[in-house]
Structures are given as C-alpha cells and as structure tokens.
Amino acid sequence: MALLSRRLLQSLFVIAGVTVITFITLHLGGDPTYLYVSERASEAEISATRAKLGFDQPLGVQYLRFAEGLVHGDLGDSLIYRTPAIGVVLERFPATLELTFCAMLIALALGIPLGVLAALNHGRPLDGGIMLLALLGQSIPSFWLGLLLILSAGLKFRWLPISGRVPLLEPLFAGDFAVAWSNLPHALPYLAMPSLTIAFFSMARTARLVRSSMLEVLSQDYIRTARSKGLSNYRVIVHHALRNAWLPVITMLGLEFGFLLSGVVVVETVFSWPGVGRLVFNAINHRDIPLVQASVIMFSLVFVSLNLAVDLLYARLDPRIRLR
C-alpha cells in the first residue's frame, strides 16, 4: 500500500512536470495569434483575435487558467477544430490504441521466440541471422519501412490496402459487439502494414533483450542443476529459464508501449491512420496549443499509468522490490 501511494504521488509529480514543460515549450515560439488571422488582417483585427483566444494574458495567468481547467477536465478548445481539445483527442484515441496494441502483440509474438532461438543457438549462424534482423529492425527508419511496404505489399502485389482504417475499438467501446465483430475481417488488412511497421523496431529490441536475458539465465547454476536432474530441454527452457528471463522483459513492456505510442506519430501519417499521433503532428504544425497540451497529457497519462502498473506487477513478481 505504501509503495502504491508513493508511486501514485510520484506519477502526479511527473504529470504536473509534463504540463509545465509542455506549456513553456509551446509558448517559446512567440505569439500564436498570427496563425489564426488572415494574411491581410489589420493590427486591430489581430489584437481582437488575440483577446478572443486569451493570448493577451501574461504567461503565468495563462498557465494557471490552463491548470484550473485541467483539474476540471477542461483543456480548452482546439484552435483548429474549434471544439473541446480533450474531446478531439479522445475521439482519435481508440485508433491509436488499436494500432499500438496490435504492434505490441506482433513485437512480442515475434520478438520473444526469436530471442529464445538466438540464445539457444548462441554463436551459430541462426543467432547471427536473428541478430542481423534485429540490427535492421533498429536501424531502418519507420517511415521508410512504411513506404517500402506500401510500394510492395500495397501497390505492386495489391495484397493489402495502402492506407485508411476500419474502426474496431469504437463500436466495442460503444457496446456494439456485433458491429465490432463484423468489422474485424475488414479491419485486419488495414491494420497489418502500419502495425508491422511499428512492431519491427520493437520486435528487434525485444529479441535482443530476451536473448541476452536468456543467455544470462542459461549460464546460472540452477539451470545446470535442472539439466543434471534429467529434465527435458523444453521444461528447462520454458519452466526454469524463460520464467526468470521474464523480469527484464516485463520491465521493458511499459517503456516499450510508450515508445510504440511515440512511434505512431510518423506511421499514422504515412498510412493515413486517423489517430492521436497524426493529430499531434498536425497540431504542432498549426501551433494548436490546447490540442498539443491535451494530446501530450493524454500520452503522459497512459505512459505513467502503464509504468505504474508494471512497477506494481514487478513488485508482485519480485519480493525484493517490496522490501526496498
């Protein structure tokens, strides 16, 4: 309980820090009013718009207003969409969540077996091949991989749709399971290329981590003992080695989800995926301050919550954490 309270308090500080940094960074670029007036607007018209948007107030006052709104769940109206910013972000959030979860599943489904295989074949060609793949995964920029997939699987072979999305989570959240189920076969082809693009980087990192973790565990005495007891290879690897190799992987999962969330900014743009990443990109280009703030706070909430969950899970798995 003490650990939970301490971590909750730390999370609150982190989110407060994020709001301050975001607010200051966004206001460093000067007065954004000019982006919301016509090219031919006079100084009087610009001043009137500045007052309408509240940019005529001192920065401290603007921040306090923002913080007060935040407490009440009001992050102001998006300057682009002229509707509450938090509503705009929440509307896009299911698309990003869908993509990130799918990417995470692919990354884990491919990364863990590849890491185990590499560890078990340490120093052999298979290990080298997997590590080369991991190197590629961490070196290829996601936008480039995305475009390659579009040109090959989308345009040349016409296996998959090039861009767009069929909603899956929205009907699910709305309780419309029948619609979600009927959308599923149509949604998966649209999900394939963008989630694979995001997953490639994460898969590479997972494979490397699992490999090194497994190598470390495999050299432990208790593994030698297990083998000497005559246990099967499968039992030694799955029940003894992999179980202990999990801890660093679980620690990484929370961070990985955060990395995947940040990775969607580029991939959502390449694949015209209507999620929060693209929204942030667009909002930054237009200096839509309320919208960027709402998106960043949303991202930081997810990131902090996941890390909190991972910490608690970690404490559950490793008693030493609770004792500290």
Partner: protein
C-alpha cells in the same frame, strides 16, 4: 518556356475510357428520341421553319445537352478525392482553411460564384444592384432555393448568413468574421422582401461583390437550433451535396442533395479521403483507389506521369511567390539592409535571378513568371517580367555604389525562408542565394520553422532584410491582388513599402468608378511598384494535382476543387 494556360475547370468522364459505354449508348439513344420528338412536335404544331442561325444554335444546344447527358451517364457514381489535410470545421460561419472551403462550396451556395476564368456569375442571387452612394448592395434571390430539409430558403436565411458570423457574441475568427466582413466594412443587412436583401457597408468598396461572393448562404432554423460545437460537425446544406459522414482525419462523404433545385451535380457521391503523406497519396492514385489527389510534390511528378493510370495536371495558382525586401529602419544597421533601401539595388537583384531555370530545376514544371503582383489574366498593365541579365545586375550595383570589394563581395545580406511552407522553398532560397552570390552579393540563408518562427516574424513585418514568401490573390480582381498594400502599415505589406506615389493611387481609385480610369491608375501604381523593385518577383505557384485517367478534370487557379 511555355506557360500553362488557365483552362476552364471542367470535370467530365474521359471519352477514351472504356467504362460506361452501355450507359453512354443509352444516353445517346434517349437524346436522339428527345430530338426526334421535338422535331415531330414542331412539325405537327406547324411551327415556322427556323432560320439557319437558329438551327445552328439549336444544334449546338442539343450537342451540348447531349455531351452533358453523356458525361453524366459515363461518370462514376462516386468521385474520390485524396486531400492532404483534414477539414477543420464545417460550420459555415467559421470556415477558414482552403480544404474546408473546398468541401463547403459543395455544401452551401453563395450569392455570386467565381467562374474558372475569374468572372462573377449569379448563383443564389438572380441579380444585384449597387446603391448610388456605393455603400449598399441589393440582391434578388432565386425563388426556387431550398434548404436540405426541403423548406424554402428565403431572404431571412440569406440575411442570417451575414448576421450570424458578424455577431460579436459568437467570437468567430474564420474567413467571414476575420476577413470578409471587416474588409467590406460591413455595417448590417436588411431584409427588403421575402426574396431581397440589402447588405450595407461603411464606404464604397470596388471589390465588394467579389468579397460578398465568399459568404456562404445557409438556412437559419437549423443553425439557430444548434450549439456552436454542434454546428462544427452537423451540416445543414443548401448546395448541391449534403454531408453523409465526416470521420476526422479519415474521410468526408457527401451525397447529392435531393432538395437542391439548381442543375443536379454530376456525381452521386463525393468521397474526400484524408491522406497526409504525399507518397501515400500518389500510391493510392496509381492503384486506382482515388480519382484526384491534391498537393503533388515535384518529386512525385514522374512517378505519376510514368504510369498509364494517372497524370499530373498543373495550373498557375493565384499564390504569388516572391522575395520581399524589408525596408524597415531596423535593418539599416546591416550592410544588406542598408543596400536594399536603394531601388536600384533591388532592381539589380531581380535581374540576377534566372526564374525559369529555378522552376524547371526545383519545381519540375514550367511556371508562370510574375511581372507584377496581379494575376496575369487580370493584369492589363503591359509590364513585363525582368529577364535574367546578370551583367545588367552588376552594372546597376556598380552605379548604386556597391562595387565588388575584397573577395569580389559587394555586400552581405540575410535571406529568411520558411521550411516546408511552399514546394521546395528551402532549396529555392539556397539557389537564389547562389545567383546573388554570383553577382557579388554574399547571401546567408536562414531557415525558419513556418508556424513557430516565420509567421510571428513576418506578421509583425520583421522578417528580413530579405525573405521568401507567398501571398494569395484572387482570380477575379486586380484590386484584390493589390490589397496586400492598402497602406504603408497594411496587414500584408511585409516589406514596409511606403512610396507616397503608389499609395496616392488608392485615393484616386476611391474617387472613380470608371473602369478605364481605374485601369489607368492601376497601371501607374504597378509601374511604381515594379520600378522601385519592391518584390523580387518569382512566379505564380504551380498547383499540381494527380488525376486518374478514368476522368478528365482541370484544376482552377483559385485552388478550388470544382465539380461543375
């Protein structure tokens, strides 16, 4: 180099397309039957034989009707357009961005409508008249207009279309409230009778009709019933299409408005897909998943033209790209800032830049060279663009007292440019700096982020001493194009140009409504502007669209995606 012609926009199915042959044949059969029945009726009724001219006119009209019917029959039922940017709002009182305006023109009508060749034609208004003092426009509405729900659209609705955006309590900041109404010096609107309204202004404005044609006419009852938030996404149309669905950042789907009383549009549905990445838009076009894409970048031109499924259509747009010479006092402290205060130096720099080569190399398309700030079809000044003549540039600089010094350098200057605002803007600035370097003007290029750095600077008239920029004009009026310079401290006078001879022209224009006299004053003003070298004139930005070979569509200079 050849200049792209500003062809009338039209969208019609390509006769070369193999699709729709049966429907085309059916249409031809119907037209033939109609023609035969008309001929039979005329014979039976003993109508007098038409004269040769009448017969020709009839034949022409029939051919046109036949072509239209054929086009309609062959057109795909859904037109799919790939846009680079999503719509921001669909509240007719708050619209601002070009993408939203493109869709808005399909959803709502306007009193007058700009044709592809820049003419203002009656649309929802049948006629208009200007009051004797020039401070009021009276519009007679068409009697057959309807709202989306089928109720009649009358003068009260048209008046509300002005009153609502002008309402200060609503705090609208879009194009209507933020630009059109202040520019008109709008004072109010009066309902004269159920089909007549009078819009009033503080002073006579020679471009009032064009500005008024930018106001969308919408129905009062549905918008009074909606909150501002609802109005941003819930459309009650008055134009040829109605909104079916708008999924943010994904697509906007429109379908034909059955209650639209004017000629029905060609397509049953129009799907706007939001595809922000240029390469992805190109791939979707080549794959045949969209029919038109906007914002084709120079590097994608060959990729599209090399296929047999689509081609690139380019048009010189109304956006003028130029290098501004900021003459603000604060720049005098720098050698370059001081030098460009001399008109001779500014003219010299104009002769130093080979604009056609820049277009060919960096935009990969010929572009329409700018001679003045006026869009060429409306430019009757007779002023020609300065040719590339580096020797003359060097002579002028020598005469101005800026001789080559140590290392061949005459003076140093900074050229500021936004990044990613215009096609290849940074490379364009670097190439211009190279040309200026060739004549001894050592130019340092400063690249700025558009939204956070360049816009605040230029809007405060503080960009410079040289800056690359582009401002939009209009296809319907030379005076609109000149309104960048309403006064020395005018909103878009980013160069702080303050020549009294030029600005005296505005006073003269206020005192005349004679077109010939107006043209003469405009010519004099433009001559001053040109000779003083206020801008280093580059080109009218070529707008490039990818168009599927299944359809034939021509882009417009005013960046409007028209489906007329």
């Amino acid at each position: 180099m050849t200049e792209p012609a500003t062809t009338p926009r039209s969208i019609r199915p390509n006769s070369m397309s193999g699709k729709g042959g049966l429907r085309g044949g059916a249409a031809r059969l119907i037209m033939a039957l109609i023609s035969l029945s008309l001929l039979g009726t005329s014979l039976l009724c003993g109508a007098p034989a038409p004269s040769q001219a009448q017969a020709q006119a009839q034949a022409q009209a029939q051919a046109q009707a036949q072509a239209q019917a054929q086009a309609r029959a062959q057109a795909p039922r859904t037109l799919r357009i790939g846009l680079a940017v999503d719509v921001d709002t669909l509240d007719p009182a708050e619209l601002d961005a070009q993408e939203s305006e493109n869709i808005a023109h399909l959803l709502w009508g306007t009193l007058y409508k700009t044709s592809s060749d820049g003419k203002l034609d009656p649309y929802f208004a049948q006629s208009s008249s200007l009051s004797a003092d020039g401070r009021a426009y009276t519009f007679k509405l068409r009697p057959d207009l309807k709202c989306e729900d089928g109720t009649p659209l009358n003068a009260r609705d048209a008046a509300y279309s002005f009153e609502h955006p002008a309402d200060p309590a609503m705090k609208f900041t879009g194009h209507a409230a933020g630009f059109v109404l202040p520019a008109l010096q709008y004072t109010g609107v009066h309902v004269d009778d159920p089909l007549t309204i009078t819009v009033k202004f503080k002073a006579y404005n020679p471009i009032a009709l064009g500005l008024l044609s930018e106001m969308f006419i919408f129905c009062r009852a549905p918008y009074e019933a909606m909150s501002r938030e609802q109005a941003a996404t819930h459309v009650s149309a008055s134009g040829p299409y109605r909104l079916v669905e708008w999924r943010h950042d994904d697509h906007v789907l429109l379908e034909r408005n059955r209650n639209y009383s004017l000629p029905a549009p060609m397509y049953e549905r129009v799907l706007f897909r939001i595809i922000p990445e240029g390469s992805t838009r190109t791939a979707e076009l080549i794959a045949g998943n969209v029919d038109i894409i906007t914002n084709v970048t120079p590097d994608q031109i060959d990729a599209i033209n090399d296929t047999d499924t689509a081609k690139v259509e380019s048009v010189a747009s109304i956006r003028r790209i130029y290098i501004g010479f900021n003459q603000k006092d604060k720049f005098s402290a720098t050698p370059g800032g001081k030098a460009i205060r001399d008109p001779k130096v500014r003219r010299a720099l104009q002769f130093a830049v080979d604009v056609p080569t820049l277009c060919d190399a960096l935009l990969r398309t010929p572009c329409r060279r700018a001679a003045t700030m006026i869009f060429p079809p409306n430019d009757h000044t007779g002023i020609s663009a300065d040719p590339y003549d580096p020797d003359r540039a060097e002579r002028l600089l020598d005469e101005a007292g800026y001789r080559r010094g140590a290392g061949g350098v005459r003076f140093e200057i900074t050229l500021q440019t936004p990044r990613g605002r215009y096609p290849n803007d940074v490379n364009m600035a670097l190439a211009i700096a190279q040309y200026l370097g060739d004549i001894g003007v050592n130019t340092k290029v400063e690249v700025l982020d558009f939204a956070s750095a360049f816009v605040p600077l230029i809007r405060k008239h503080d960009a410079g001493p040289m800056f690359l920029s582009g401002t939009s004009g209009a296809s319907w009026s030379a005076l609109y194009d000149m309104s960048d310079f309403p006064s020395p401290d005018g909103g878009a006078n980013y160069t702080n140009f303050a020549d009294p001879e030029f600005f005296a022209g505005w006073k003269k224009l206020e005192q005349t409504r004679d077109p010939a006299e107006q043209a003469s004053i405009i010519r004099a003003m433009m001559t001053v502007f040109h000779e003083r070298g206020t801008w280093l004139q580059l080109y009218f930005l070529p707008d490039m669209y990818g168009v599927s070979n299944k359809i034939s569509w021509q882009p417009r200079a005013d960046q409007l995606i028209s489906l007329d």
